[in-house]
Symmetry: C2
C-alpha cells in the first residue's frame, strides 16, 4: 500500500513517515477506512455508548463487522472499551482524546453532506439508474 521506502535514496529527509502525499490525509485515511468507522466515531462524539446503542445507531451493520471495527479503533487508540463485568453484560465505548479530535475533524464532511443533500439525492438516484436494473427483490 504505502511504499514507505524511497529507494531513489535521497528525498526522504523531509518527511518522517511514508510521504504518500503532501499532507497527513492518507495517514488519517488509514485509521478511518472501514465502512462504518467514520459513523461510529461521529456517533460516539455525543458521549459514551453501550454496544447495543451503537448497533442500533449504525444500522444495517452486523455484529461481526461492528465488533471488528470497534476492535480496530480500540487498537488504534481512538476509542476505549469498558467492560463492567456485570450480568447481564454491560460494555461501553468512549472516545479517547485522540479519537475525539478525529471525530471532530469529520464534522465538515457531515456538514457538507447535509448542505448538499439535494445534490446527493440526484447523484444517488442516477447511480442506481445505471446500476444494472437488478430487481434486487429483497426476498
Amino acid at each position: 500500500m504505502s511504499g514507505a521506502l524511497s529507494e531513489t535514496g535521497e528525498a526522504s529527509d523531509d518527511a518522517l513517515i511514508a510521504p504518500a502525499f503532501t499532507c497527513g490525509l492518507d495517514a488519517t485515511l488509514r485509521i478511518i477506512s472501514g465502512k462504518w468507522k467514520p459513523l461510529i466515531l461521529y456517533f460516539l462524539l455525543r458521549g459514551p455508548n453501550r454496544y447495543g446503542e451503537l448497533k442500533r445507531a449504525v444500522r444495517d451493520v452486523s455484529d461481526k463487522v461492528l465488533i471488528q471495527q470497534l476492535k480496530e479503533l480500540d487498537a488504534d487508540g481512538v476509542l476505549l472499551r469498558t467492560d463492567y463485568k456485570e450480568v447481564p453484560p454491560r460494555v461501553d465505548y468512549t472516545l479517547t482524546p485522540l479519537g475525539r479530535s478525529l471525530a471532530q475533524a469529520l464534522e465538515p464532511l457531515c456538514a457538507w453532506g447535509t448542505e448538499n443533500m439535494a445534490e446527493m439525492q440526484r447523484i444517488f438516484a442516477e447511480r442506481d439508474a445505471w446500476q444494472r436494473p437488478r430487481p434486487a427483490r429483497p426476498k
Copy 2:
C-alpha cells in the same frame, strides 16, 4: 448497502434518501469511498491537473483504478474531465464548485493526520507488528 427500501411501508415520508444516520456524513462517505478518491480530490484543490500529474501524485495507483475513480468522481459531479483532443493526447481534471467544497471539507482530516503524525507512526508500526510477518517482498 443502503437498504433504502422500507417494506414496512410507511416510515419513508420523513426522509427523502435513506436516513442512514443523523447527519449527512454517510452521504458524503458514499461519494468519497474509494481508496484514492480523497487523495485525488485533495490534490486537485491546488488546481487543474493532467492525467499524468495526477498519476504521479497519487503514487502506487494503477491506471485502471485511477481512471475508474476519476470516472466515478466525474459522474458524481465533483470533477470535470477536459479532453483537448490534441496529439499527443492532453486531458485534464478540474474540480467543480461542488468538488471544491468537498475537497475543502477534507482539510481538517489532513490537518489531523499531520498534527498526530507521531501517534500515527506508532499505530502503523504496531499494526505491522501484528500483521503476520508475511515478508511481502514488494517485487
